[in-house]
Each structure stands twice: as C-alpha cells, then as structure tokens.
C-alpha cells in the first residue's frame, strides 16, 4: 500500500503545521516579539537606572586612606580589588568596569609650616582616576569623588586651622578610549534571553497540553507517525520561529538603537546558535510543565514559577552585580544568567562560542537535569 514510510516527511509535516499555528497565535507573537521590543524601546530611552559603578582599585592603592574609606561607604560604588592590573586595564577598555582608581599617600612631602602661599602645596593624598569611554557611568563616579574629596578637604582645613590650606587630596583624571558600552548592549541580550525563555516554557507547555487534552496527539498516534517525530517537529517549528524573532530583534536593536555587533554577521550567527541552545533547554521546562499541569489553566502559574525569578534575577534589566552577595549566588545558578552573559560576551566583546565554554557548560548541566525531569513527567495522554 504505502511503499516507504518517511519519518522525515512526517516530522516536517508537523513542523510546518506547528509553525503556521504559532504564526497565527497572537500570544506567541506578542511574547516573542512585541514585549522584548517594547522593553528595549523603554529601557534604551531611560538609560541605566539602578546603577552600580564598578571601580577597579589599582594594586598598591592606599586602602587605609580616608579617601578610600569614604568611597567604600558610597553604595553606588562597587570597589573591585581581586583583578590584576592587566585584567583591569582590559576590562576598563571593554567597559565591564567603569573606572580604575589609585590612591597614593604623599609621604614626607607634606610641609606643615611655614605655609608659604607662593609655593604650590603638596597634597596629602593623590587620587588618580582612569575613566573609559566604554562606560557612561564615569560622570557618576566623578561627582562622587569630587564630593568625597571636598568633604575631606573641608575636614582637613578645619583641623589645620589654616585659612588657605594645602589641599589634602588632589584629583587627577584621564580617560582611556574604548568602545562605547550603551545600555542597549546590556538590555538587548537580556530581552532576547527572556523572549526565548517565555517562548520555550509557555509556548511549549501550552502547545503540548492542548494537543494532549484535545486528543490531537491521540489522533496522531492512529497514524504511522513516531513519537519522536511529534516532539522533533514541534521543536523545529519553535526554534525556527524563535530564531527569526531573535534575528528581527537584533536587527531592530542594531539599526534603530545602535546595538553593538562586533564582528557583524559572524556575531549574529554566534548569537543565534546561543539562542537555539538556550531555547532547547527552556523547552525542557515547557515539556515538564505540560506534564505536571492538569489542564490549561494551571500552565501559567507553573510557568511563572520558572520564568519570573529568572526574569528578575538573571540580569535581564540590571546587572547581577547590583544585587547583594547572597542573591548573586542565586542568580549565578540560573540558566538564563549564563545565557545572558554568554550572549553579551559574544555581542559586545566579540567572543566566539569557544570563549563562552564556561557558560555553555553550565547550560549543558541544566539541559541534562531539565530533560531528565521532563522525560519522567511528560505525558502523552
């Protein structure tokens, strides 16, 4: 009757049907395209709110000086001490730290008296700040430092009781040039990651539970189609749709908001590969939810349990470094955090996939874990 039954043909028939269905489902289009674009539009125009200025502290800086102590008290300033001078310089030009600060004590050179007004006074502390054009947070740091120094100088003036005091500290500034790290460079990969997460979890869960409850899958089983064809066909459709969506978001980001794509098309391709990897893992959550959920109305709460924490904690809107330490541990355990990090490295730093193996490894672990659970919980009928 039928000569050679083709599983590939059956798989593609399902993929095509599913793709058409996704395109016609308003929620899929809204969640995957409209929401990320709206967020990008809003946040790209607001600029960075809830900022943390990452300031590298140069080796040998005087951390006992009142200048350092005062800076330490300022909450928006995040002092980084665990990087080598080399790393710091690199990170500065990339904009992953916003400035490098060096504080030196002018030992022995302090002339207390007689104060000769004609001679330039040596200050007690030298504060050397390097800014970068890669970061827009330089001015924030600048005003913080100016305030801190003014205060110290004021205290010093009162202590010395002098009318024209020598400066306690003087500020020297220099700016290194690097690529401008715009907020769009931060927000776009995050939105892309979140779009994939919601499409993978909500989309997959809804499709499979509705196919199961409306007996579409049962009807499929009365045909010679294999189970893997059904799952694979659905996965292909969702991946193709999401990658087209991602491409669209990247293009809008690039041309309308100046999203940085270092190596152009190669960077885009690398990002799409990351998108596919992320989506496959997130679909595992979707399969699990569709198996656990009793009916369609239990899908949203279950899916939200998975997506909301990652939405907030995975560096979608603000850097994970803005969180308290304990929360950062939570953030760093989430798969979306690593997808976002990998995506930002690829897009802005021009990293290849070989440079984000750490992130890919963690995603792989998540993938294994999620699919182990999905296989156990997934229901066909």
């Amino acid at each position: 009757m039928n000569q050679n039954y083709s599983n590939t043909r059956a798989t593609l028939a399902i993929a095509k049907a599913s793709f058409r269905s996704i395109l016609r489902s308003p929620s899929a289009v809204v969640f995957s395209l409209a929401f990320p674009l709206i967020f990008i539009l809003v946040f790209a125009n607001i600029g960075g709110g809830g900022v943390a200025v990452d300031v590298g502290v140069a080796k040998g800086a005087d951390t006992l000086s009142p200048v350092y102590k005062a800076l330490k008290k300022v909450t928006v300033i995040n002092l980084i001490k665990d990087q080598t001078a080399d790393e710091m310089a690199k990170n500065l030009s990339k904009g992953s730290i916003d400035a490098i600060i060096d504080i030196k004590t002018n030992t022995g050179d302090l002339t207390i008296y007689p104060p000769l007004s004609s001679l330039p006074q040596k200050a007690a502390y030298m504060v050397n700040v390097q800014y970068t054009t890669s970061s827009s947070k330089g001015p924030i740091l600048k005003s913080v430092i100016t305030n801190v120094l003014n205060e110290i100088n004021e205290t010093y003036r009162k202590m010395s009781m002098a009318t024209t005091p020598p400066q306690a500290a003087e500020l020297k500034e220099a700016t290194v040039s690097g690529r401008a790290y715009k907020y769009i460079d931060f927000i776009l990969p995050g939105q892309l990651g979140f779009s994939l997460l919601s499409s993978g979890v909500f989309g997959t869960a809804f499709v499979f539970i509705s196919l199961r409850l409306t007996l579409v899958i049962k009807r499929f089983f009365a045909t010679p189609v294999k189970r893997y064809s059904i799952v694979l066909g659905e996965a292909i459709a969702r991946i193709v749709f999401s990658l087209l969506g991602a491409l669209f978001i990247i293009m809008v980001g690039h041309y309308a908001f100046g999203f940085t794509l270092i190596h152009g098309i190669v960077t885009v391709l690398n990002m799409l590969v990351l998108c596919a990897i992320g989506l496959i893992i997130f679909m595992g959550f979707g399969f699990t939810v569709s198996g656990i959920a009793k009916n369609e109305s239990t899908v949203p709460p279950l899916s939200n349990i998975i997506t909301l924490p990652q939405f907030l904690l995975s560096g979608t809107f603000f850097s994970v470094t803005a969180f308290p330490k304990w929360l950062q541990y939570v953030s760093n355990a989430l798969p979306l955090t690593h997808l976002n990090n990998a995506m930002r490295k690829v897009a802005f730093e021009g990293a290849g996939l070989g440079d984000v193996t750490h992130q890919l490894f963690i995603l792989l672990l998540w993938g294994i874990g999620v699919y182990a659970v999905a296989v156990k919980t997934f229901k066909w009928e």
């Binding site: 039928n2 050679n4 059956a10 028939a13 049907a17 599913s18 009807r219 009365a222």
Partner: protein, 254 residues
C-alpha cells in the same frame, strides 16, 4: 458477500488498574461490511475499538487486522486503517486544507486537499477552521481525514452523536458510499434506528461482554418470534419522518 474476515478478535481482555473494561470479547468483522458495536455507555465499545486501532495495549487476547497481528505489526495496521475518535480535536489555528496536508504528511501519501474535501462535500470550507464548522461538517471532515491513506477499514466512534436528523441521514449516505467503494466500516452508536438501517451486522456489548452478534433483521425476527410485541403499535411513519418531511432533506449547515 464472501464473508472473509478482515478483523478477528479472540478473547480480548483489557484491564485498567483495578477495573476490567473488556472481559473476553471475541468477534469477526467481514470484509466490505458495515459492522456496528452497540451498547450502553461504559460497556467497553470504545476501549475495544481503541485496542484494535493500536491506540491502547490489550491485557490479553489475540487480534488480527487485515492479516497483521496487533502486537507485532502495529505499524502496518496503522497504515491500513482510518480512525475517527470520539470528540477528537484537530491541530489549532489551521484550516481544513492545511489539516489535510498535515495528515498526508503523517500518513506519507500524496493527496490534495481538494480531492479529500470533495469526498465529504466540504470544498467550500477549505479555508475554514475546524472549530468554526457545524457538528455535521466536523464529523464529515473527521471522516475525510480517515480516508487519506486509502484505508482497508475505517473506525467511526459515535459519528452521529449530537447531529440533527438531516446531518445524520447525510452521514449515513456518506458511510454507505465509503462501504460501496470497498472499505470496511466499523461503527459504534447509541441509536438503534441508525444501526438498523446502516449496519450489515451488529454486536451488542454490555458489561465488557458480547451478548449477541447477528444481522439487525435476524435479531428483530428472533425477538418477534418469541412473541414480543411493542406496547404501542407503530404507525407507518414516526416523528423523525415528520421532521424530515417538514424541514427538507437538504444539508443544514449552521
């Protein structure tokens, strides 16, 4: 009719956890007939059908469909049968043409949507969604999907439940056409008038057992021979005849 069995069921038993749905059923379906499985809800009709359709595993018993063993050749059987499920839906957001294309892919055959929709008089609904069809149209479309792979046998599970008299009669015509084209039809129904006019043979299923299997005529003759009389003498027509006479025989779509 040569009475060549195309389906043979021997001592079929199906247990669900602690409930025995089918308790040793045996019957044969002959090639080219319309075979009816009749019985109250929960009698095991649907379970029996789903086991034959390879959708459920049996607990014990032997089943052959068109010469293939259900245990070893489920795939060959799936290629030779068409299945219409009770209350099954279709892939969301697709129109009828696209659904036919999908099923052609699933069965691995080349059928155009027009060709299939013509068979069930739905060509003008090619761009409509399944959920927007009337009850009768839905059933006709379901039957179209069962015919895509030129099956030897089709299974129809309560295809006329909930249909108005016109749609029901038109579906009977369609089922007869399919049978006349050489396809064996296995059907379940709650309507005895339907079984009487449509089925060549019927089996009564109750409580997981077959309690009788014969042609409708024989059953009726046997009962009459025992001296059975209807409480109320039937007239030359019934209320359904009046309904059809008043509202016309043409399709009602709505």
């Amino acid at each position: 009719m040569a009475n060549q069995p195309i389906i043979t069921v021997k001592n079929l038993v199906k247990n669900y956890d602690d409930f025995q749905a089918v308790k040793g059923i045996s019957f044969e379906v002959y090639e080219g007939e319309i075979f009816g499985l009749l019985g109250p809800n929960g009698a095991g009709k649907t379970t029996t059908l789903e086991v034959i359709e390879t959708l459920r595993d049996k607990t014990s018993g032997e089943i052959t469909v068109d010469g293939f063993n259900i245990e070893t050749d489920a795939d060959s059987i799936k290629k030779r049968i068409g299945v219409q499920l009770q209350a099954a839906g279709y892939y969301p957001n697709l129109n009828l043409s696209e659904l036919i294309v999908l099923f052609s892919g699933l069965y691995g055959v080349n059928k155009t949507p027009t060709e299939m929709l013509e068979k069930v008089a739905l060509t003008d609904k090619a761009k409509a969604k399944y959920k927007d069809l009337s009850g009768g149209q839905k059933q006709r479309f379901s039957i179209a999907t069962t015919l895509i792979n030129n099956p030897r046998i089709i299974f129809l599970d309560e295809p006329t439940t909930g249909l108005d008299p016109q749609a029901r009669r038109n579906l009977w015509d369609l089922i007869r056409e399919i049978r006349n084209a050489g396809t064996t039809v296995v059907i379940t129904t709650h309507y005895m008038d339907e079984a009487e006019v449509l089925c060549d043979r019927v089996a009564f299923v109750d409580g997981g057992h077959i309690i009788g299997i014969d042609t409708p005529d024989h059953f009726i003759d046997q009962l009459v021979a025992t001296g059975f009389e209807r409480a109320k003498q039937t007239k030359g027509a019934n209320l359904e005849d009046v309904f059809i006479n008043l509202t016309g025989k043409e399709w009602r779509e709505g």
